[in-house]
Amino acid sequence: MNSTGRGVRFLYACLIAAFLLLMYLPMVTIALASFSRTRYFRFPIPAWSTNWYAEVFESLSIRNFFWTSVIIAVLVGLISTALAFFGALAFARYRWKGRKLFQKIVILPILFPQAVLGLALLLWFTAIGITPSWQTAVFAHIVWIAPITTLIIAIQVYSFDPAWEEAAFDLGATRLQVLREVTLPILTPGLIAGFFSAFLLSWANFPLSMFSSGADQTIPGWISAKVQAGYTPQVPAVGTLTMLAAAVIMGAGYGLVVLQARRRARAEAAG
């Protein structure tokens, strides 16, 4: 529609820019604070330094928390994507009795406060007799993240034409063959997006980890503890590094999805 004039367009552009500025302002502040030489943050920053980064890279305990976070995020990404692949087919593709109820139950954890869910899970683990550790944190993350991954993949499932699967069935393929040769390749972009989102959401999760990881701390947990127990610019330095890691991983995921789409377009043009 061309009824949006240039002036209105400009106003809308300013609005989006202001929104993005608001979103990114605290992250920019963290990056700034990580280069402050003084222990306490003052602005304008009187003296700059990269020493805090050197300390972070030398710290063995931070390295530990880093690996805990990575392992949790990788497992959450893999398991959530596997669950969500089938979950999304049940959500969006197959017609079965109980589907509407299933859809609603899957949405519920996303509509529930994470801190309260974390506490409920802590109670659950303790009552069953499981000591909270990084493994229980993986479970807690999956409860919240697998539904989100399911929705991401479901959006892709909705847009794919069942005729592809039917054609394969008509040509004599078994259900497993259709799943492997037709459904899986068509849904690959959704699976990649789902895996990376799950990984990153786990990487950034604090409320669930806080209650479910027991003695095994993740990076966001360390940040929170450090803010309470004694702030040093190591905190924003670690924060900046986690943001960089998230940006790189997000970029890689986006690149993979684009690459995949291009490869398929080329294959379709050729065949």
Binding site: A13, L15, P26, R42, K97, A115, A120, A204, I223, G239
Partner: protein, 309 residues
């Protein structure tokens, strides 16, 4: 609650009249359906990781205070105590702040979402990426960024002091700062559903309304908002529930100026070691979230929102 009995209610009604074996057979057929097989792992996870734990919380809420077992005689003592000792005040404060958060997020997000879909739709994917990215940075880290931004000597007060000679006090540790933190954290949770809602409004419908002489405001009121309602509803619902049950915002930015319900629940589960009382407080949250989610989800066709058919 077993999974079979949970879904058995879904079995076709006419089967009730027929002999038991065939009923069993139809249940067996149902279990063999591809949809059921595909749904099973996730359904089991939801049962063992969401519905189960919440049910346990509900059971604990009726146990006498201080116990760690669910094999006691049920009692309403915890709820009586919540009412008698004004523990519900934190719940009311949470509801009030959550309602304010929803209103502010709605006012901010609708025009932004509208601009993203209708005006800059061509750059939609890159904009969506930019707005998703902050979700991949921990809440508590981003809130710490705001602390450094707003604290005395921080970015705002430091620059005003240095460049304009204006002395400003810390802007933190008030209920206003808590509200700000809530709005900031939950903006994306309002934005995405509204974007989906607005994308559902057919462009031709708007053009037809304009052609028939409707004003901009009339199109907004009669076409845009009603047709985007499922998205607006989901966004508001999610923002309200998540904000009402939030923990970190009130602690980090608010400096405990407002006590939120989640803080009380955490205290009872933590220091106080009183699971039943913490559970009773959590039940308030579960009831709120459950009632809202169930009413809203009844009106919403999820196929329509995610499938955009």
């Amino acid at each position: 609650m077993s999974r079979a009995s949970d879904f058995a209610a879904e079995a076709p009604a006419p089967l009730r009249a027929i002999r038991a074996p065939s009923r069993l057979a139809s249940l067996g057929r149902w279990f063999a359906e591809p949809g059921v097989v595909a749904a099973a792992p996730l359904a089991l996870l939801m049962l063992g990781g969401f519905l189960g734990p919440l049910l346990l919380v509900v059971v604990f809420a009726f146990m006498p205070g201080g116990t760690f077992s669910i094999l006691q005689v049920p009692t309403l003592a915890n709820f009586v105590e919540i009412v008698a000792n004004s523990y519900y005040l934190s719940f009311l404060a949470s509801l009030w702040l959550a309602a304010l958060t929803v209103v502010i997020c709605l006012v901010v997000c609708y025009p932004v979402a509208f601009a993203m879909v209708r005006v800059f739709g061509r750059h939609g994917s890159i904009l969506a990426l930019l707005i998703t990215a902050p979700l991949f940075v921990a809440d508590n880290l981003r809130l710490m960024g705001w602390v450094l931004f707003l604290v005395k000597g921080g970015v705002v007060s430091g620059s005003l002091q240095t460049w304009f000679g204006i002395e400003v006090d810390s802007m933190l540790y008030t209920s206003g700062a808590t509200l700000f933190g809530l709005v900031y954290i939950y903006l994306p949770f309002m934005l995405f559903p509204i974007i989906m809602g607005i994308s559902m409004v057919p462009e031709q419908m708007r053009e037809a309304a304009f052609d028939l002489g409707a004003t901009r405001f009339q199109v907004l009121r009669e076409v845009d908002v009603p047709l985007a309602m499922p998205g607006i509803l989901i966004g508001s619902l999610m923002t309200f529930i998540l904000a009402a049950g939030s923990l970190t915002e009130a602690r980090t930015l608010g400096g405990n100026a407002v006590t939120m319900i989640a803080m009380d629940i955490q205290k009872e589960f933590g220091f106080a070691q009183n699971w039943p009382k913490g559970s009773a407080l959590a039940v308030l949250m579960i009831l709120l979230a459950g009632a809202l989610a169930v009413t809203a989800l009844k009106r919403i066709d999820l196929d329509l929102i995610f499938g955009r058919k």
